[in-house]
Amino acid sequence: MAAVLGVSAHYHDAAAALVVDGRIVAAQQEERLSRVKNDPSLPRMAIDACLALGDIEAAALDRVVFYENPYRKLERVMVGSFAAFPRGAGFFRRALRSQLGDKLWVLDQLAAHLGVKRERVSFVDHHQSHAASALDCAPFDDAVALTIDGVGEQESTAIWAPADGGPRRVASIDYPHSLGLFYAAITAYLGFRVNEGEFKVMGLSAYGTSRFDDEVNQLLRVAADGSFRLRTSAFDEHLRPDRAYGDELVQLLGPARESQRPWDLDSGEDRRFADLAASAQRALEEAVLALGRAAHERTGARHLALAGGVALNCSANARLLAEGPFERVFVQPAAGDAGGALGAALLGARSEGDAIDGRFDPALGVAADPDRAMAVARHLGLNADRVDDPEREAAERLAGGAIVAWVRGRSEWGPRALGQRSLLTRGDDVTLRDVLNRRIKGREAFRPFAPVVRDEHASALFEGAPNDMTPAMTTVCRAMDDSLPGCTHVDGTARVQTVGPEGALDGLLRAMEGHGQRALLNTSLNAAGEPLVAHVTDALDFFVRRKPDVLYVEDVRITR
C-alpha cells in the first residue's frame, strides 16, 4: 500500500499524477494551472494540486518517480550534437545550458520542492512510462502496447507486452527514425508551432488530395517488417529544434509556408500545402498501421493500447481499429509527454508491490467550486444565480442557438474537453460553428469541431461508435448522414465523444432530446493558443473576454 507521485517535465507538457494504493487519484497538467500553454517547467503547481486532491502530505509519499532517464537523455543530446560536427556547435551550447541549468538536476529539484529525501525520488524509462499509462488504463486484457513519439531517451517507437513489474519491451526503433519527428517537421514546414500545431496538420489534411505521395515516400519509408526509416538528412532536428526539417526537405517539397499569413484554401499556394498535409497524413497512417501489424505479429495479442505523442493522431487511430489486426484499440488520452507522469506513477506503484486498479476516468484534475464562482462573478459585475435544473435550462438556451460555457466537476486529463470544461452549441447549424470559430475561439476556419452524443444514439449517428476510444475522443468515426454539419469534418468524419450514464454531459444530452437534438457540438473551453480552463476563475476570465452567451458552473448560472 503506497502513495506514489509521477512527474513529467522539462521537455514539453509537464504534468503530475498521484497513485494511491494502486488507484489513480489525481492527474493534472501544469499548463492548466500556470496558464502557460504547453508549460514544460517543473510542475510545482500540478504537484501541489495533486497532493491536495489526494489529501496527502508530501512527507507521506512513499515514492516520487520521474518519467524518463535524465542522464541517458543528456547522453543522446551530446552525442547527437557531435554527430553533426561542426554544425552542431550552437545546438551543443544551447543544450548544455538547458541541461546544466535545469534538466540534469530534476530529481534534486523534485526532492527539494517536496521536502522529501532524495533517495525516495527515482526515474523510469520514457517509453515505459507511456506504455504503462496505456496498458494500465486500458479497459481490456490480452493487450500489447505500442508507444510512438518524437523521442524518449533513445527510442522513438516501441512494442510492449504486459508483465507484473510493468510493461516488458519487446522491440523498439531508435531515433532519429521517428514518426513524431517526421510529423513535427511537416508541422513546422506548414508554418505551425511544433508540439502544438500537429492537430492543425491533421485537420488541414482533409482539405487536400494526397498528390505528393511520391515525394513524401522519399522522406518516410515503411519496411516489410513493419519498421520505418526516415531520410535523416532532410530532418536536422538537432540544429533547428523549432523547425525540425532541413534544406533537403525544402528542395524536395518546395518552399515552406510562412507562419503568419492567414490561410486561404481557395488560393493555389495554400491548396498545395493542404495537399502536402494530406500526403504526410497518409504516410503517417500507413506507417502506424505497419507498426500495429508488427506488434500483433510479435505478440499475438488481440487488443492494442496506444500512447506517445503520435497516438494523439485520431485519424491514424481510426485506421488502426478499422484496418489493423486488433479487435479493440484504446488510447490513453494524455498520450503525449504529460501522460508520462501517469505512467511513471503507475510503474512506481507496481514497484512498491501494489496491484493496479484499472478503472480509469479522465476527470482527474482540480475541482470546480460553484460558491466561489458565484462570489467572484458578482465582484466582476456579472449576474450569478443558483438554478434548480441547470441541464433543462441550458438545453433550452442551446436549442435556441446559444453558445454555452459548461464547467462541471474535476477538470479533464488529456488535451480534449470532455464535458468538464466545455463550450457547447448546436451541432446542426454551421452559422453557430463559424461564430464559435471566429468570434469566441479566434482560430483558423479549417479547424473542425467535434460532436458529443450519448452511447445509445452513437451507432445511429456514427459508424463504429461507441468504441474504446470514443469516450475520450481519441479517434474519428464516419457520420451516417449530414445532420450535424457544424461538427462534421469536410471528409465526412467526426471526432465524436460518446457519453455513458455517468458522463458529465449525460443529463444535458438527455434534456436536449426533448428539443429534438441527439448531439451537441463540444469544444474546449479556451481561446486559440491558450490552455484549457481549469479553475473557475479561468472560466470567468474566458467568459468576460470571449463572451459566450452564458456560463454554468455546476448549478450556478452566470450571465452579463
Binding site: L33, S34, R35, V36, K37, N38, D39, S41, R44, M45, M78, V79, S81, F82, A83, F85, P86, G88, A89, F92, R93, L96, R97, E155, R168, R169, V170, A171, S172, I173, D174, P176, H177, A223, D225, G226, S227, F228, R229, L230, T232, S259, Q260, R261, A294, R372, A375, V376, R378, H379, L380, A534, H535, T537, D538, L540, D541, V544, R545
Partner: protein, 214 residues
C-alpha cells in the same frame, strides 16, 4: 532628473531598427503579467481580490495586443509573441509579496510610459495615443495595488515590500549577469565542443529498423 530619466528610457528608440523589437518586448512583458495575474486570481482566497486580478489581467492582455499590433506596424510584417513562462511569484512568495512586486513594476512601467508618450507625442502621434491609453490603465494598477497594500494586505506589508524589492533587484542582477556571462559561456562551450568531438567519433550512427529485446 526627469530629463535624464527620459533620455535613459527613450534612448533605444533612437537606434535604427530597434523600434519593433522593443515594442514586441513590451508586449511580451504585458502578456506575461496577464498570465501571472490569472494565476493569482485562482490562488487568492478572497473573491473580491480575485475579481480585481482578473480585471487587471484583462487590461494587460489588451496592452499586449495593442503593442503587438504596433510592433507589426513598425516592422511592416506580422510579428507573433514568443511564448514564455512567468515568475510564479504568488506561488513562491505569497500574496503580499506578489502584490508589492506588481506595484513596483506598475510604478516603473508608468514612469517609462510617461517618458515614451512624451518622446512620441510629435514624432508618431498615433503610437503616442496608443501608449497613452495604456498609461491610463497603468496608473489605475499602480493605485489599486497601493490600496491593497495599505488595506487588506497591510499585515506585514513593509516586510513584503522589502522582499519584493530584493526579488526585483535579484531578477535584474541575474539579467545583467547572464548578459555578461553568456558570451563567455559560448566561447567555453565552443572550445569544449571542438576538443571533445574526436571522443565522440565512434558514437552510434542512425541505425534504422527493429531492435529486439528478450
Amino acid at each position: 532628473m526627469r530629463a535624464l530619466a527620459d533620455f535613459v528610457y527613450t534612448f533605444s528608440w533612437r537606434l535604427p531598427g530597434r523600434r519593433w523589437r522593443r515594442l514586441l518586448a513590451f508586449a511580451e512583458a504585458e502578456a506575461e503579467s496577464a498570465l501571472e495575474l490569472r494565476c493569482a486570481a485562482a490562488a487568492t482566497s478572497d473573491p473580491e481580490r480575485a475579481a480585481l486580478y482578473l480585471k487587471h489581467a484583462a487590461d494587460e492582455a489588451r496592452h499586449a495586443e495593442i503593442l503587438q499590433r504596433r510592433a507589426t506596424l513598425a516592422r511592416g510584417s506580422a510579428v507573433s509573441l514568443p511564448r514564455r513562462g512567468h515568475a510564479r511569484l504568488f506561488e513562491r512568495f505569497g500574496e503580499p509579496v506578489f502584490i508589492a512586486y506588481v506595484h513596483r513594476g506598475e510604478r516603473r512601467g508608468r514612469r517609462q510610459f510617461e517618458a515614451h508618450v512624451r518622446f512620441f507625442e510629435r514624432r508618431d502621434p498615433a503610437l503616442a495615443a496608443a501608449l497613452k491609453s495604456i498609461l491610463a490603465d497603468e496608473r489605475r494598477h499602480e493605485s489599486y495595488t497601493a490600496e491593497l497594500l495599505a488595506g487588506p494586505l497591510a499585515d506585514g506589508a513593509p516586510a513584503a515590500r522589502r522582499r519584493a524589492r530584493r526579488v526585483d533587484l535579484g531578477d535584474r542582477w541575474r539579467r545583467v549577469g547572464s548578459a555578461l556571462t553568456g558570451p563567455l559561456f559560448a566561447v567555453l562551450m565552443l572550445l569544449l565542443y571542438v576538443l571533445a568531438a574526436p571522443l565522440a567519433l565512434g558514437a552510434r550512427g542512425d541505425r534504422a529498423g527493429w531492435r529486439t529485446h528478450d
